[in-house]
Symmetry: none
Subunit: 234 residues, 4 copies
DNA sequence: CATGAATGAGTCTTCATTCAT
DNA sequence: AATGAATGAAGACTCATTCAT
């Protein structure tokens, strides 16, 4: 998996090794992937050019093909980065939540609205890939793999929680998973904020599992306004 | 609004007026819009070309610019067609459902999984536009307008149905609307079938409004297998 | 085989159909092949660009890819044209020479120094392809096929003419064929003129077949100086 | 003239001084020239890159510009090497042949089919330069100079040998020289072997000078099969 | 109205050359 | 001396758009 580099690593001052002549290959690759995510958000999948990416990274345009064989490879690696980061994030949060299924479920959902994962730029990038998935088997496979793992985890937790007669864990997992994706799209479209999305998702858990999520207690405290605004730019 | 033409209007036999040397402008336009939807599903937003559209419509490639000033206009008109069709569909279904809020809500949801609206090609086209929405104000506005009207209708119905203390109609409307969109994406990705999506959505209404949707009765009867397969090609 | 178009069809006055908007595809193709031969002579195989070819044909640069899928295809078609033209030329001359083997042999050799075949531009183009043949299987095959047919014809004629003990028709055919190619290279390098090349080749036949080509009678009369100069530009 | 280094100087074991961190400039230069010849044979003039050369020499790709100011200079020096080697070879063989014109002529011809001079790689390199000569004055001059000296030697020897009325030494020299070049091309194209080429060339001398080269005695004995195969790889 | 050849701007990609390390 | 990341010019190819026929 690719070494993570903060998406904010924008070339303000020539930090040692972050730009200019010479930098280790892996660092440049992450830098370019971050620039790709940013460019995807700015220009969209259809209009993104190699020059956009290079410019965004503060490098000359020829460099991108030096680190990635083709535009296609760059995009696939970008999706792979997003996919890995996404999976690592919810799995880590799930672990931290302990053994209680309800806590674990809430943790996974909360993980999806994490500031790192659910940033405007990354949502836009995800959406760009979804838009192309239908006609790009590679993307479809990669997006599918992401959903598959996530879905299985949800099914298991739903199974553990749901008890009523006629309860269908798979269907519930699909409902919850779909809702999360739909909320991401609304966040991306600026219909709702990230925090609102998180609250809506967590509140819905109360509807699906009323006995395990007593009404009105699952939502995380809303962040201070200033911090919320700040992250919009990322 | 554009005159509707069946998406299946593929040039098999030269139906009177559908192709050949002369055809009325509006007919050609719908024909080209249908071809655009099909091409969008086949090649994706990023790769679609004017030639793809023309070829799909069985016409020479110079013709598209004759009926649409530019590629951009063609795409915008295609989105407008989808958007209008979508709105007309759920509004009509809602009307047919009578005055009972629960029936109306179920009708709207059911409308979203209508065979006409929720065909593989149209889902793919929608998804393509969503993917570009972030970086295309025009698309974002058009998609936003669609969601806005729909959302308002959902909020009103939720308000009419939900009564408990602490119930939030807006949040619930967002939850339901998001879920529907998420389910569309899963249908597009072939994770679930259209019928499964519909069932999951309707079942979820039971979770959100347990008193109005008594468990196990809202789902529509699943279609016969043969019919289901047939529509896959559309 | 490609319809032949005179290499001198340079766009001086917009002849009907020869340039500007609209011309039948085959005509454009020959025009572009001629331009390729000219560009090959001017810039060499390594430096020729699609723009050179288009410019030479007096057309916009985008047009070349409209008539040939790729630069590679254009070059292969150019070689095919040269190859076909070459073969047709010597076979036609051979036929015209009647049944006498000596006449036929002389006719074939003379055909190689034909003004049309052995023009500076075409020699340069041939040489360019030979230079790449070693590393381009396609060219090697096409050049090889040309030589093969020609060689076989020479072997047959040598067989018919040579009678001495220890005479080797194959070896003699190789000697004569190689000499012809070598002379082409010298003509191309301006070491000798086309007419000198022809005389040297025909005189050599006297050496190889002294009984059939009595000394001093086989060479064609040298052309007038003025005509000779004129064709240098082609 | 450049210090000769065997074309087989491939980096198998790091011979002392042949590679590694430090090596005297002249050695590196010959090493790179050999690599250029090999790369020319492998990829052709049009496709050869500085990186190919460096890789072939087992060195990093930045190094070539350190030893040669430009790609152009590298290629010119490579041609100069080939040209010098060629000239030195036939002149040395000629000297060794003594004073008899017939022996000297045969020696020169034999020299052209020398294993060192007439290796597959070097033939390919020569051919690559010939292909570009028409459009590269520098190459044309260098190739021309080579031919000029060689041609003069042939003319002198022909003059000494030929006696008949109407004998034209220049024409005969051109015939013989052209044939040799043509045979090289056939060897390069794998139509004939190096040994066959040599025999054909020597046998032809019998045709041109029947009194000095009594039939059937000029050809050198064909090599053993094993040795012949071995040199194919060079 | 319809066709399809022609145009030319824009993009990806390659690669000689430079230069910090 | 040597390395290999970085630069940027140049070229192949695509495709929206125009327009003669």
């Amino acid at each position: 998996m690719l070494e993570r580099v903060s998406a904010t690593a924008k070339p303000k001052k020539p930090e040692p090794g972050s730009r200019g002549r010479k930098a280790p290959k892996p660092l440049r690759r992450s830098q370019l992937i971050m620039a790709t995510i940013a460019a995807l958000a700015r220009k969209g999948y259809a209009s993104i050019t190699m020059a956009d990416v290079a410019e965004g990274a503060g490098l000359s345009h020829g460099i991108v093909n030096f680190h990635f064989d083709s535009k296609d490879e760059l995009l696939v690696e970008t999706l792979r980065f997003l996919s890995d980061e996404y999976r690592d994030n919810w799995q880590a949060e799930q672990e931290k939540a302990g053994q209680d299924p309800a806590s674990r479920l809430a943790a996974i959902i909360r993980a999806d609205f994490n500031r790192i994962i659910c940033s405007p730029k990354k949502l836009a990038a995800w959406c760009a890939f979804w838009g192309e998935a239908k006609s790009r088997p590679t993307y479809q496979k990669m997006c599918g793999a992401r959903d598959e793992t996530y879905h299985r985890a949800l099914v298991d937790l739903c199974q553990a929680l749901g008890g009523k007669r006629g309860f269908n864990a798979k269907a519930t997992a699909h409902a919850i998973g779909s809702m999360t994706e739909g909320l991401w799209m609304r966040i991306m479209m600026n219909s709702i904020s990230r925090q609102e999305g998180e609250i809506i998702a967590l509140k819905s858990l109360e509807a699906f599992f009323p006995t395990h999520f007593p009404t009105g207690h699952s939502a995380a405290p809303v962040k201070k306004k200033k911090a919320a605004e700040e992250e919009t730019k990322k």
